[in-house]
Subunit: 304 residues, 2 copies
Amino acid sequence: MQKFEIQILGCGSALPTRKHLPSCQVVNLRDKLLLLDCGEGAQLQWRFTGLNWQNIHHILLTHAHGDHVFGLPGFLSTMGLLGRQNPLFIHGPSSLQTFVEYMKAHFFPDLSYELHFIPVDTTVHQQIFEDRSMEIWSLPLQHRLPCCGYLIKEKPGQAHIRREMIDFYEVPTWAINRIKAGEGWTTQTGEYIPHERLTTPADPVRSYAYCTDTQPVPELAEWCKGIDLMYHEATYAETEKDRAETYAHSTALQAAKTAKAAGVKRLVIGHFSSRYEDEQVLLEEAQTVFQNTILASERLILTP
Amino acid sequence: MQKFEIQILGCGSALPTRKHLPSCQVVNLRDKLLLLDCGEGAQLQWRFTGLNWQNIHHILLTHAHGDHVFGLPGFLSTMGLLGRQNPLFIHGPSSLQTFVEYMKAHFFPDLSYELHFIPVDTTVHQQIFEDRSMEIWSLPLQHRLPCCGYLIKEKPGQAHIRREMIDFYEVPTWAINRIKAGEGWTTQTGEYIPHERLTTPADPVRSYAYCTDTQPVPELAEWCKGIDLMYHEATYAETEKDRAETYAHSTALQAAKTAKAAGVKRLVIGHFSSRYEDEQVLLEEAQTVFQNTILASERLILTP
């Protein structure tokens, strides 16, 4: 299996607590790193991940609330101080472009790397990036201002060579990559050996959705159908359902219903209101409709 | 003694480490709170102080580098979310005014409290604030952009009543405050008792200077003459003296020489470069010329 890990750097909401930092996650897909949101303290938490700043290729921002972006200026600035060379792509609602440009102009005009802002249309579910190993899709969310989540899908890898078959049919080394990529092999005696006999299938592709901040969005059931892991905000318990609606957030029960409707394999809930000393109440509420739920926590590492 | 405490929330420099946060301190003078700088993570550290956000009256900013101000947006925003009512005064170089205004307009336009920015002329040593309990003075520093430190001087309190003398001369309760404030007392038999006989002197006034970021400033010897406690940046050791000069910072030795020239009672050094795993080298260097030096550290509480 190739690497596909999500590490949670912060899963609190707007008010800081002694326990939680504001929103930030890092996705490690085959050693390419994506940052999801960048709440205050992200660069401080980063120091504990052991990951290389240079390998962050994209930062995906959900919306222009401080608890999701106030760590960004320090993060960008520090990468510059460390001499980062690789260009960096920031994706997010267009309103955040001026913020990034303002901070750059006033605080770190001479960055050592190229910084590109790519506006995301938060009203459309579409692919916003792809390369050989992944696709990233936007997930329109419903919050108090333009907001979108992100779906990260691994692309299929190559088939695995069956060593004993390669030896048996005396396949030369130069042909291995073509076989991995899908071809069969014709032996010296003219016998055709199909690809499937020479290989075992590629690993199944995995997928992860990051859905915060939002009230329940029915379309997520379709867009995230059958994915492996969904992070969905669960700011409140059902007892605060009215408040959740007022502030366009979700309850733990609503998050679980979304996960169930989408048929995801696993749900992780986060963006906890500071009112919950212990989030067990949120977990138990979610598990009443979706058993395979876990609580987010700082430095937790998950695999889809 | 009335309360006069300095709590260090962050004493690192621009690059974050696992050990230090960027610059921030809180001064508690008779339960009025001043924030000195506001590096990223300040609001997160605040949660551990047990202090009340409402009691912060002034934020004093030294200069427009990210490691001194990137915590400000979150700090201001959170106080609003918590329903702060007291007006807040931010003092600092004028370039920071647009930063505060930009962030307010884009991220927290509807603050629950009045926010006033008061530009500080960083080229002049002058009193920028006073009330019944303190004076605040600017300390022009020399950095790569306009920068100033701050000198906080306690004002004299009232004399202490000698209970046994009050009883002996049968001084009525209504006269006590006048005696505390400096008057004497004439007894029923016409005998005049001088103030000094009825009281013991007020506590000595104390003072604290916050000097960061800067190369050595000779005038500090005059401006901070004989003060109780000086925080002076010591980003580097003498082995990095050239680098200190290039970036307009100080070495530990230079900080100590400034403290000695000023004849301060105690020196605390901070703003440590991330290159020092252990700041003992900085402490020992400083102590070669100024013995009464200590190292800053997060959550350290000092009294002048």
